[in-house]
Structure formats: C-alpha cells, structure tokens
C-alpha cells in the first residue's frame, strides 16, 4: 500500500502545483530545522558566528539575527 502511495505521489509530482509547491515548502522547513540544529551544534562546539556564517555562505549579521536571540515567553531563558 505504501509503495502504491509513493508511486502515485511520484506520478503526480511533476505537474500538480499542490504537490510540487508543498514539496518545496516542506524542503524549506526541513532545511530551516537542520540549519538550526547545525548552528546550535556549532555554537556548542565554540564556533564563532563568523565561522558559521562562512560555512553557510551568508553574512555574520544574517546568522546572528536568525539564531542569536529573540523575545522569550514566560521570561524563562536558556
């Protein structure tokens, strides 16, 4: 049954915008998740924001803005 579903999904992927766009959106989400995980890991290993930015191919400011902090709920910090 799973194989059938996979085949069906693959058969429809090329043309159906719903499937195609959702796949792209899913990929982006997965990417964001993995990025967060890897950045956290790198920081945990003492990497600087600059080093991380270089590996990601973006500016230091971009990485720091995205992963460096933000508003906290319930005032409980890291």
């Amino acid at each position: 049954v799973t194989e059938d579903a996979t085949e069906l999904a693959e058969a429809t992927s090329s043309r159906d915008p719903v499937v195609g766009l959702r796949a792209v959106a899913s990929l982006r989400v997965l990417l964001e998740t993995l990025e967060e995980l890897q950045v956290k890991n790198a920081r945990g290993q003492g990497w600087s924001w600059q080093q991380i930015a270089d590996q990601l191919g973006v500016s230091r400011q971009a990485v720091h803005k995205k992963h460096g902090g933000g508003r906290r709920l319930l005032g409980r910090g890291r």
Binding site: A9, R22, L30, R72
Partner: protein, 174 residues
C-alpha cells in the same frame, strides 16, 4: 503578566508553541493558541468550542497546513523518516522535532501577542484573579486574527458566539 496564568493556561501556551514548532511556523499566532486549548480536553474553554461545533481535528485541517509533509518530500525522493533517523543518530532522539527547544526565542505574531494581552484584560474585566484557558479563548476571539476569523466563519460561528459560550461556562461553574 504570565505569573497570573494558571497551570492549565500555561499548558495552552506550551502546546501552542509545540504546535507552532510542528508546523514549523516562524511565529506563534492566535491559531496556535486556539489549537493549544485542547491540551486540557475537559476544560470549559474546550467545552465551549465543542458546543459550537468546533473540534480540534477540523481546526487542524482548516488552519493553514502543517509542514514538513512526508508525502510531499517523498515525491522528491526524500524519506523524512530516514532523515530523522540519521539526525537522531547524531544528535539524539527527537532532535529534529525539538529545535527551538523550551521557551527560548518565541516570537508572536501581532495578533498572537494581542490575544494574550486581551486574555489578561478579559480576566481583569470579569473580576477574576487568574488567567485560565477560558480567558485565553476570549482573548483569541477578540484579537481579530484573520486565520481564526476564517475558521470560525467556516463553521458559521461569530466571535460573539464564542464569548457567549464562554460566559455560559462561567455561569455553570459559579
């Protein structure tokens, strides 16, 4: 403000955050708070919603979709379960589902923030001393969130109906 939230109301926020994370939405909005209410299934807030014909399963589908979609990824030849397995092998169980862990870095949408402010205000206006899930629900429907409004409308429910249903729950409890 959050000191006035009961354990149940805090649980709603925790669940809303979890829902936000499951959907990989960048900001926590009134829709997440609405879904979060079901963390306390027997709560008057949930009773009020269900009496109006609003159920979690329906709202899950009707509020903007949750990602990543394993079926959609499979069309690209990506097996999300396999990705998860490998990530967990390196970073520990649940690593893929537990990014933005705990309470750090929660950002609210304007209406999400407004819903919580209005939950607090509703509590004061009613002369109650702590913010319960019912007050959070009152805040949600007062916040004029587009997604929430659309879902309510889909069920033929007006914000005023929700307010009435909540007040009826208060009357019942008194």
């Amino acid at each position: 403000m959050f000191e006035r939230f009961t354990q149940e109301a805090r649980a709603v926020l925790v669940e809303a955050r979890a829902e936000c994370r499951r959907r990989h939405d960048r900001m926590l909005g009134a829709g997440h708070l609405l879904l979060g209410l079901w963390v306390n299934p027997g709560d008057p807030a949930v009773r009020a919603l269900e009496r109006l014909g609003l159920h979690r399963e329906d709202l899950l589908d009707q509020l903007p979709g949750s990602l990543p979609d394993p079926d959609a990824l499979r069309t690209l030849g990506i097996d999300l379960d396999e990705v998860r397995r490998r990530v967990e092998a390196a970073f520990g169980q649940g690593a893929l589902d537990q990014t933005s862990g705990g309470w750090t870095r929660v950002r609210f949408t304007p209406t999400g923030k407004k819903a919580l402010d209005l939950a607090f205000r509703s509590t004061l206006e009613l002369g109650h001393k702590s913010v319960e899930p019912t007050h959070v629900l009152l805040g949600i429907v007062r916040a004029d969130d587009t997604d929430v409004a659309r879902v309510l409308e889909l069920h033929g429910v007006a914000p005023g109906d929700v307010r009435q249903a909540v007040l009826a729950e208060f009357a019942r409890a008194a």
